[in-house]
Amino acid sequence: MKEIVCISGKGGTGKTSLTAAFSHLAENKMICDLDVDAPDLHLILKPRIEATEEFYSGNEAIIDPDRCEGCGQCAELCRFGAISQSGEVYEIDPLRCEGCKLCVVMCPEEAIDFPPRHCGQWFRSESRFGSVFHAQLFPGEENSGRLVALLRQEARQAAEKKRYSLVLADGAPGIGCPVIASLSGADLAVIISEPTVSGRHDLERVADLCAYFGMPATVVINKADLNEDACLDIESFCRKRGLDLLGRVPHDQLFVEAMIQEKAVTELEDAALSDRIREIWSAIEIRAGLNEQKTQETITLKEE
């Protein structure tokens, strides 16, 4: 089984629109939205939620004002500046608390509780393109990396059970915690770039990240007709870095049109754009080794 993750570094390059199109084109796959912070794939896939699970991760320190003697030791120890005085007692800002437990064990009055932190929910759903694993982190919550890892694990298990060959995931922007969690151990990163100074700059950051984790990466230039010089620059960067360039997708109003109709852009009647994306998806399948696998599957089926 192969795991393909679409990432971009810069936000808004078209990861989700293209992942939705790939979800439309790919066969026998589990779909995963790993942007658990600001997930959008479900707006296109319109999945029917089959199961909702609560996501608890880590703990949260809470001072009981009735037990607090106001000594302030906790505030001195906290390295996150999460504890401050409030009248006679101290209180913890949940937005700053990282749940390290130091204050809990050091409080001489044992006045600090440490309940599990309810950080979000995740869902197993069905859509017209197949099963979808997605989630929603609660506002301002932490541990997006752990939620990403959990979603991936669930999607992989479900894929194995159904003997699917692919987990196709939409990643988060940036290069930090949730992106790292979506890459480690995956098979192929598809970097959706754009020919702008920001797109080019962040492509390099995310390509460096893939190299750092030894992850094979390929590049798609979206909104390609915006700036030809920037496209050429991205292409030369890809050659220099040995990144497979899979092709260009034009800046097309149809992407917004599709989004409003809650469709993947390849579901619209536009042969040229759909063909272009179909070619790119085929190239991704080849790079991920899905075709060999497919051939293998066909052989196995025949033998059976």
Binding site: G11, D40, L77, L95, C100, L102, T196, V197, D202, I260
Partner: protein, 290 residues
């Protein structure tokens, strides 16, 4: 006055707005790019770099000659960053949050502070504007501590010069975005009139309401998509601070690293009005609190 330019969805135009505001701002100004994972503001402001400083965070270093492998450190560590394997201590520096708990509970005082690089802060000037940005080290997962350092540096300079401060925040609504927006006097949410833009705007409004600060919306790429984002703003009583129409020429200018307010006269006027609007709303909110 501190204005945070934020959004739920990435790529809605935070940096476009921040750069254009900087170009038209009246009076002393400091700007800070807090999107340390994918910092882009410098590509537009092109500040003359005056210095850079590496930022690191504390991680534990175990002196095994003093360690008796009691396991107190691994018991308290909530991040699985330190563990005892028989007679060997294993630390995973990249998992560490730098809380210092292991050090505080070690009965043998066998743990001291080491450091792990988080990234760097870069500062410089563009004309009279002080510019700060943070760059997360590639491979580093934790951006909030670096964001905190960039904010501290920018706030120090801004207060020394009695300057206003503009933050270009990272996308999303989880810990990096929350860290960036904390302490702002006004939160400017940049969105686009599409279903993705609207959905993520709602997430941002829900998350940032916790700060109880005035919020306003800038609709970028106005004219694409539909009207639902306007309906939502009306329902929620969120002021529409500005609309930036989508034009091919603006998108091309952006792709080359041009600042909209400098490249087009009509945008200069638009952002000058936005700047005044932001300032006015801060003053009003300040008077209400006072």
């Amino acid at each position: 006055m501190i204005a945070a330019i934020a959004s739920g969805k990435g790529g809605t135009g935070k940096t476009t707005v921040a750069a254009s505001l900087a170009a038209v701002w009246q009076g002393p100004l400091t700007v800070a790019d807090l999107d340390v994972e994918a910092p882009n503001l410098h590509l537009f402001l092109k500040a003359e770099i005056a210095g850079r400083r590496e930022i690191s965070m504390m991680i534990p270093k175990v002196d095994e000659s003093r360690c008796n492998y009691c396991g107190a450190c691994s018991d308290i560590c909530q991040f699985k960053a330190i563990s005892v394997l028989g007679q060997v201590m294993l630390t995973l520096p990249e998992m560490c949050h730098g809380c210092g708990a292991c050090m505080a509970v070690c009965p043998e005082e066998a743990i001291s502070e080491d450091s792990r690089p988080l990234g760097e802060i870069i500062w410089g000037r563009r004309g009279d504007i002080d510019c700060f940005s943070g760059r997360l080290r590639v491979g580093e997962a934790m951006s909030p501590p670096l964001i905190g350092h960039v904010k501290d540096a920018a706030e120090k300079t801004a207060s020394e010069r009695s300057a206003d401060l503009i933050y270009d925040a990272p996308p999303g609504v989880s810990c990096p975005a929350m860290k960036a927006v904390t302490g702002a006097d006004i939160i400017v949410l940049v969105t686009e009139p599409t279903p993705f833009g609207l959905y993520d705007l709602k997430l941002a409004v829900n998350s940032f309401s916790a700060f109880k600060r005035p919020m306003g919306v800038v609709v970028n790429r106005a004219g694409i998509g539909n009207d639902e984002v306007y309906d939502y703003c009306r329902q929620k009583g969120l002021p529409l601070l500005a609309e930036i129409p989508f034009t091919r020429s603006a998108a091309e200018a952006y792709s080359k690293g041009l600042i909209l307010a400098e490249a087009f006269e009509e945008h200069r006027e638009r952002f000058a009005v936005l700047a005044e609007e932001i300032r006015r709303r801060c003053v009003c909110a300040g008077e209400v609190t006072a």
